[in-house]
């Protein structure tokens, strides 16, 4: 879908709010909303630099009187929190998951979109049906599956990666994109004797690049924010990812808010940076999921 960049003329706007309130009111509303959305982040950053007493003062101090950069160092070096490990672990796990998920969803999405095979409709419907399997219940069997008696992946990286190498949402998204490719492309490739794989590699993938970026970003983000499963499936602190480390940190840090906010910042800032750079892909990817009749 091409993004409309031109401002709609007053005649073609869905609702002419100019009659209801002047431009100023509109902006006031939006700014208020934006302030609410952004305030927690603002608070996190400023508090992380505050002096201990100031962080927990009433009435709240909106601008630090003194900037203590050493808070970040103290939080990073806090005993028994292995931030560096956690970062490395999470980057590793997230990257592997993203690569894997891209692969499976491209292959599966393409197959559903462009390949004719027996049972396609039924299989697709079954795929939809699996969305209704209660995830609350499958945690325990999955946990048992990871045990020594079966896969033996308890307390490993593998357990944190492999179950997430597939996502029904990504399959749907890629399928949507592949369906959008013109049939002529396929026919031309077929005549030239190219098989599905070759077509996919040289023509299909480059054309669905926006979807690939979206899937990568969302998968990476989900892996970064993963919390519950890593918590129960790992026990060694060295292989734990960053959200679990943050929980450990907040429990140990107690009420030292200046340090807690620094810890939260460690965890949030990387995603914020990636988000700000690639926000177009994030947002449009999400938007696309809503455009279905």
């Amino acid at each position: 879908m091409t993004r409309t960049s031109a401002v709609p003329t007053s005649r073609s706007r869905p609702l002419n709010l100019d009659k209801i309130g002047p431009s100023l009111a509109k902006h006031a509303l939006l700014i208020l909303g934006a302030a609410v959305a952004a305030f927690p982040f603002y608070w996190m950053i400023t508090t992380s630099f505050k002096e201990f007493g100031e962080a927990a003062k009433s009435p709240p101090v909106l601008w630090p009187t003194s900037w203590h950069l050493e808070n970040w160092v103290e939080a990073w070096q806090y005993p028994h929190t292995l931030w560096a490990n956690a970062f490395a672990n999470t980057i590793f796990i997230a990257s592997m998951t993203t690569l894997g998920e891209l692969t499976t969803s491209v292959l599966a999405g393409y197959a559903f979109a462009r390949m004719r095979f027996r049972g396609r409709g039924v299989l697709f419907a079954l795929l939809l049906a699996t969305l209704f399997i209660p995830t609350e219940a499958t945690i325990i069997p999955n946990f048992v599956l990871m045990s020594r008696r079966y896969l033996g992946w308890y307390d490993t990286y593998t357990a944190q990666i492999v179950p997430f190498l597939v996502s029904i949402f990504s399959i749907f998204l890629l399928r949507q994109f592949f369906l959008g490719l013109p049939q002529e492309l396929h026919d031309a490739a077929r005549i030239d004797g190219a098989g599905h794989l070759r077509f996919l590699w040289s023509i299909g993938l480059p054309l669905v690049r926006p979807a690939l970026v979206t899937v990568s970003l969302l998968t990476f983000l989900n892996a970064w924010n993963a919390f519950l499963w890593p918590l129960i499936i790992t026990s060694r602190p060295e292989i734990r990812p960053i959200q679990v480390m943050l929980v450990q940190f907040t429990t140990e840090g107690g009420s030292r808010y200046h340090l807690l906010m620094a810890g939260a910042a460690f965890v949030i800032l990387p995603t914020l940076v990636v988000y700000l750079i690639a926000q177009r892909y994030f947002i449009e990817g999400i938007a696309r999921t809503g455009i279905r009749g």
């Binding site: 869905p14 709010l17 608070w43 996190m44 599966a108 599956l145 949030i268 009749g293």
Partner: protein, 335 residues
């Protein structure tokens, strides 16, 4: 290419072979995804169902057929009370989040679509809460809700309202408001606890950007010629809204409504991190009850009961979704 006379049998056989190869190739493409889904979702799903038919505490005890289901649904049993309680909390949670999220997101999307300057920048800011991890955001919000020096208490203090315990307040808000005016409401009308309201505030903050973006996309999808034509015909704002915008937006509204409702019902991470079901179980939604039954009361048939609870819950979700399709789906306008 010279036309060769190929015997019919060979032609059919070679075509069948081609079709077989194509099928094979397709399943090869699907294999990774199917194996993974099968192994980590379908098999555990079946296993969970089998578990729900057993008495299973720390270890497997015995086969129990549908005893667990009966225990949960038996009005005179102890399990029934806590399950119904959790359902009630879940319903309140949905009511406190979904309509408000959608309303705010809709208004913001409308205003943004007006071609406001800096629309892109606003969109980016509004979407930020959605990408932050629940654990990290909850840390920040725990401070905001703090009873002694939280920002929210400061703000309400400015308008003369006393400090509240927010996340730790188990009293129902209706009862609290009522007693502020001297009226004592009976316990059954206490309403959702202030703690649940606090968790809902967090959820709304988290999801507004997400829904705004989808509504915005939905609005963008409506052909502008329709508006031009309507205005040329002299239609007024209210009529445009009612006759054009809302109907054409209804598929998106419907879609978001369903997703938001199911999402709210299954919501877990943020409640777990913020309150873990407390205080006094007033934020213990069904997913949290299931989690507690599995992981904290494991020893007393925790696994059997927990599994049964989750399947009962899935049926309820399906029922509610079907209901939404039936009742609201009828009013969705497809062009």
């Amino acid at each position: 290419m010279a036309a060769e006379v190929i015997p019919a049998k060979i032609r059919v056989a070679s075509r069948r072979r081609r079709i077989f190869l194509e099928n094979f190739e397709a399943y090869l493409f699907l294999a990774p995804a199917l194996i993974l889904i099968g192994l980590f979702q379908v098999v555990p799903g079946i296993a969970a169902f089998v578990m729900s038919l057993t008495r299973w505490g720390v270890i497997y005890e015995r086969w129990a057929w549908f005893e667990n289901y009966a225990a949960i649904l038996d009005p005179s049993g102890a399990r029934f009370g806590e399950f119904v309680n959790a359902l009630g909390v879940t319903v309140w949670y949905v009511l406190l989040t979904v309509p408000i999220e959608m309303a705010i997101a809709l208004i913001v999307a409308f205003v943004l679509y007006q071609g406001t300057r800096g629309r892109g920048a606003y969109r980016v800011v509004y979407f930020m809460p959605y990408i932050t991890s629940v654990v990290a955001a909850a840390t920040i919000f725990e401070w905001m809700f703090d009873a002694n020096f939280g920002f929210l208490n400061y703000v309400i203090g400015l308008v003369g309202v006393g400090s509240q315990a927010w996340l730790r307040e188990p009293r129902g808000i209706f009862q609290m408001i009522g007693s502020a005016f001297g009226a004592g409401l009976p316990d059954s009308f206490a309403g959702p606890s202030l703690s649940l309201v606090a968790v809902s505030i967090f959820t709304i903050w988290h999801f507004i950007g997400f829904q705004t973006v989808i509504f915005l996309a939905g609005l963008t999808n409506i052909s502008r010629e329709l508006y031009e034509a309507a205005r040329i015909d002299g239609a007024r704002e209210r009529q445009i809204l009612r006759r054009i915008t809302l109907p054409l937006l209804s598929p998106t509204l419907f879609f978001v409504g369903i997703i938001a409702t199911v999402g709210a019902m299954r919501s877990f991470s943020q409640i777990y991190v913020l309150t873990n079901g407390g205080p006094l179980d007033t934020t213990r939604t069904v997913p949290l009850l299931i989690f507690h039954t599995f992981f904290e009361r494991t020893a007393v048939n925790g696994i059997g009961l927990g599994a049964a609870m989750s399947f009962i819950f899935v049926l309820i979700i399906i029922a509610i979704t079907l209901f939404q399709f039936r009742v609201l789906g009828r009013r969705v306008f497809y062009d």
